[in-house]
C-alpha cells in the first residue's frame, strides 16, 4: 500500500509538469480557437534561450527577463505574421499553421543556440524526504507549487483584470467581442505572450529535470492527452487532467507494465484519454457542443 501511494504521488507530481505545458495550450485555445501545436516547441525555445543566455554570462535574473522579452517578441511576431492573415480560416488550417510554426521554432532555436544537450541547474535540490513513510521528491514538490501559483495568478488575471475580461469575451464569441470594441489582435498578442511565459516556466522545470534538448519538444506532446481529458477550454481541466494522466500513467507502468512488456508510458495516456472521450466526448470540463444543421 505504501508503494502504491509512492507511485501515485510521484505520478501526480509528474502530472503537474504536464499540466504546465497543457496550460499554454488551453490559454491559446480559449482565446483564439487555435489549437497550438507549437506549444512544445515554445517550451524548447524558451528553455534553450534561457540556458544559452546564462552560458553567455548573463546573471540568472537578467537571463530570465531577457528570455521573457524574447518570448513576448515571438508572440508578437507570430500574431502579426501567422495568425492575422489566417483569421476565419477553418480550424484544420490553423492547426497546420501551428505545425509549420513548430518546425520554424525548432529550426530557429537549434539554429541560433546549437543542438547540443545543455544542463540546467535551477539550484533547487532534488532530495527526497519522507512523509508518513512515503518518499516525496523535493523538486517535484517545488514544480507543483510553481504550477499552483501560476494557475492562481492566471485565474485572478482572467477574473479581475480588464484584459482578462476582454480575453473571456473573445473566447466566448469573436464577432461579438469585436463589435463591442475589443481589439482582437491585441488580445491575441497578449494571449500568445502569456502562453510564451507559461512555456518559459515549463521549459525551466522540464529542462532542469531532463536537460535542455530536442526531446523536450517531443515529451511535451504528452500535454495533448491532458487537454483532451480536461477539455480544450478549461484551465482547471488542464490541471486536473494533468494530475489524472500523470497518476494513471505511472500506476499503469508499474502495475500493467510487467504484464504487457514495459514502456507502455508512451501510449497509455493517449489510449486512456481516448477511452475517456468515448464516455464524455468533450472532456471533463469542456463546453458541451450543441450542433445544429
Amino acid at each position: 500500500m505504501q508503494f502504491f501511494f509512492e507511485v501515485l504521488i510521484g505520478g501526480l507530481l509528474a502530472g503537474v509538469m504536464y499540466s504546465l505545458v497543457a496550460l499554454g495550450f488551453v490559454l491559446i485555445f480559449k482565446a483564439s480557437g487555435v489549437f497550438n501545436f507549437a506549444q512544445g516547441a515554445m517550451v524548447l525555445f524558451a528553455a534553450l534561450t534561457f540556458v544559452s543566455l546564462e552560458e553567455r554570462g548573463l546573471p540568472r535574473w537578467g537571463a530570465l527577463v531577457a528570455t521573457l522579452l524574447v518570448m513576448v517578441l515571438l508572440a508578437l511576431v507570430i500574431e502579426r505574421i501567422v495568425l492575422r492573415p489566417l483569421v476565419n480560416q477553418p480550424a484544420i488550417s490553423l492547426l497546420m499553421a501551428t505545425i509549420g510554426l513548430t518546425f520554424c521554432i525548432e529550426g530557429l532555436a537549434q539554429g541560433v543556440w546549437g543542438a547540443s544537450v545543455k544542463g540546467l541547474d535551477l539550484g533547487i535540490p532534488d532530495n527526497t524526504f519522507e512523509v508518513k513513510g512515503v518518499l516525496v521528491s523535493q523538486f517535484d514538490l517545488f514544480a507543483a507549487t510553481v504550477a499552483g501559483l501560476l494557475v492562481g495568478v492566471l485565474a485572478l488575471f482572467f477574473q479581475y483584470t480588464k484584459v482578462g475580461r476582454a480575453l473571456r469575451a473573445v473566447a466566448d464569441d469573436h464577432q461579438a467581442a469585436l463589435s463591442v470594441g475589443i481589439p482582437l489582435q491585441y488580445i491575441w498578442a497578449v494571449v500568445w505572450a502569456a502562453a510564451g511565459a507559461v512555456a518559459l516556466v515549463a521549459g525551466l522545470l522540464w529542462g532542469s529535470r531532463l536537460g535542455v534538448q530536442f526531446a523536450l519538444s517531443v515529451i511535451t506532446l504528452k500535454a495533448l492527452p491532458v487537454i483532451i481529458l480536461g477539455g480544450f477550454t478549461s484551465i482547471a481541466g488542464a490541471i486536473v487532467g494533468g494530475l489524472i494522466i500523470g497518476a494513471t500513467e505511472k500506476l499503469a507502468e508499474v502495475y500493467l507494465g510487467p504484464v504487457l512488456g514495459g514502456g507502455i508510458e508512451n501510449w497509455f495516456p493517449y489510449v486512456f484519454a481516448l477511452l475517456f472521450l468515448l464516455v464524455r466526448p468533450e472532456g471533463l470540463f469542456g463546453e458541451k457542443r450543441i450542433e445544429r444543421v
Partner: protein
C-alpha cells in the same frame, strides 16, 4: 487556345462520366504514363529512380490514403504512419510465415490488415469529432509503434530492431534492380490512384464529402454515419498499409518501426495540405514537392554559402524554411498546389487572349 473544350460534345452518359472529359487531358495523361512506364525505366539513372521517384510515388500513395480520410471524409488523423507500419509488418509476416503466397497478394492482404486496424481505431470517430479526434488518433500512432517495437512476434524476435525485408519475387522474376522495383511501385500506385479517382466520384465519395461538409446535416438527409466514417477509415488505412509495405520492401528493403514514427505522420499530413485537401492530383503534387524541397534547399545552400556554414546548421535552416513554407502556403493558397494547377488550367483555356 491549345487547352479548350470547345467543339467537344458529349452525346452519351458514358462520355459525360469519363474521368478526363477533355481530349487534351486524356492525351496529357497518356503521355505522362508513357513517360513513366517506358521512358524513365529506359533512360532514368539509379539516383533518379531510387532516391526520388520510388519514395515519391510511395509517399504519394500514403498521402492519397490520408487525403481520402482527411480531405474527402473530413476526419483529421495524425496516425497515418502507424497504419503504414501495420502494412509493412503485415507484409513481412505474410512473407515470413506463408511464403507460398504471391508477393502482390501478400501486399493486398497487408493492406487489408491495415484496413482492419484502421477501422478499429476509426470507431471513436463516431463519438469524437474534430480536434479531439485528431489527438485521439495519436493513440493509434503511439500504440502501434510500441506494439511493433516491444512484441517480438511481429519482428520474428529480431534483436537489432532493423529487419531485412525478404527479397521480392513476382512470378519467378526477382525485383532486384531499381528499375524493376520502380515498375512495381509505379504499377501499384497507378492502379490504386485510378481506383481512388473513381471512388471519390462514386456514391461512397459523395457520402464522404457530405460528412466532411457537415456531418449532422449528412445524417439528417439519410447518409449512414457508421458506414460512411468507417469505410473512409478502412479505405484510407488500406492505402496507407499498402504504401507502408511498399516503403519497407521496395524503398528501404528493411522493416523498422522507427521509419513510421510521428514525424512521418506529420510529413504526410503536410503533403496533404500542400498538395491540396480533397484532390487526388494534389496528393501526388504534395508528395513530390515535399520530397524535392529538401534536396533543392540543400543544393541552394551549397550554392549560396559553399561550406562556410557551421556544420549542423544546415538541417536547422532546412527545418525553418520548411515550416515557413507550410505557413506561407496556408496563407497564400489554402487549397494547395492542386488549386494552383486549376488556376493554370483556367488561364490556359484563354491563352493567348485576355478574355
Amino acid at each position: 487556345m491549345l487547352y479548350r473544350e470547345a467543339g467537344q460534345f458529349r452525346t452519351s452518359y458514358r462520355a459525360d462520366q469519363r474521368i478526363f472529359p477533355i481530349v487534351q487531358d486524356r492525351v496529357a495523361m497518356g503521355a505522362l504514363l508513357l513517360v513513366a512506364f517506358v521512358a524513365i525505366p529506359l533512360w532514368g539513372n539509379q539516383y533518379l529512380l531510387s532516391a526520388l521517384l520510388i519514395p515519391c510515388l510511395i509517399l504519394s500513395l500514403a498521402t492519397l490514403g490520408l487525403n481520402i480520410l482527411t480531405g474527402y471524409a473530413g476526419q483529421l488523423s495524425l496516425g497515418t504512419a502507424g497504419f503504414m507500419a501495420v502494412g509493412a509488418f503485415a507484409a513481412y509476416g505474410f512473407q515470413l510465415r506463408t511464403p507460398h503466397v504471391p508477393l502482390l497478394v501478400a501486399f493486398l492482404l497487408s493492406g487489408l490488415c491495415a484496413a482492419a486496424v484502421g477501422t478499429a481505431f476509426g470507431l471513436p470517430s463516431l463519438r469524437i469529432k474534430g480536434l479531439y479526434l485528431a489527438v485521439a488518433t495519436l493513440a493509434s500512432q503511439f500504440f502501434i509503434e510500441w506494439l511493433f517495437t516491444r512484441v517480438g512476434w511481429f519482428s520474428n524476435d529480431s534483436s537489432s530492431g532493423v529487419i531485412n525485408a525478404q527479397a521480392m519475387v513476382i512470378a519467378g522474376v526477382p525485383l532486384d534492380t531499381p528499375v524493376r522495383r520502380y515498375l512495381l511501385v509505379l504499377s501499384v500506385v497507378s492502379v490504386l490512384a485510378l481506383a481512388a479517382k473513381n471512388l471519390v466520384r462514386s456514391r461512397a465519395g459523395r457520402a464522404w464529402m457530405a460528412v466532411r461538409d457537415m456531418d449532422v446535416a449528412a445524417e439528417v438527409i439519410g447518409i449512414p454515419m457508421l458506414r460512411t466514417k468507417l469505410s473512409a477509415f478502412a479505405i484510407s488505412s488500406f492505402y496507407c498499409g499498402v504504401a507502408g509495405a511498399l516503403w519497407a520492401f521496395a524503398h528501404l528493403r528493411s522493416v523498422e518501426p522507427q521509419e513510421f514514427d510521428l514525424t512521418r505522420s506529420f510529413q504526410i499530413l503536410t503533403m496533404v495540405i500542400i498538395g491540396g485537401m480533397g484532390s487526388v492530383l494534389g496528393s501526388f503534387l504534395g508528395a513530390g514537392f515535399i520530397i524535392l524541397l529538401p534536396l533543392l534547399l540543400q543544393s541552394a545552400m551549397q550554392g549560396a554559402f559553399g561550406n562556410a556554414l557551421r556544420p549542423g546548421l544546415e538541417p536547422n535552416i532546412e527545418q525553418f524554411v520548411f515550416g515557413s513554407l507550410i505557413i506561407l502556403f496556408l496563407i497564400l493558397e489554402p487549397q494547395g498546389l492542386a488549386r494552383l494547377w486549376q488556376v493554370t488550367k483556367e488561364k490556359l483555356r484563354l491563352w493567348p487572349f485576355p478574355h
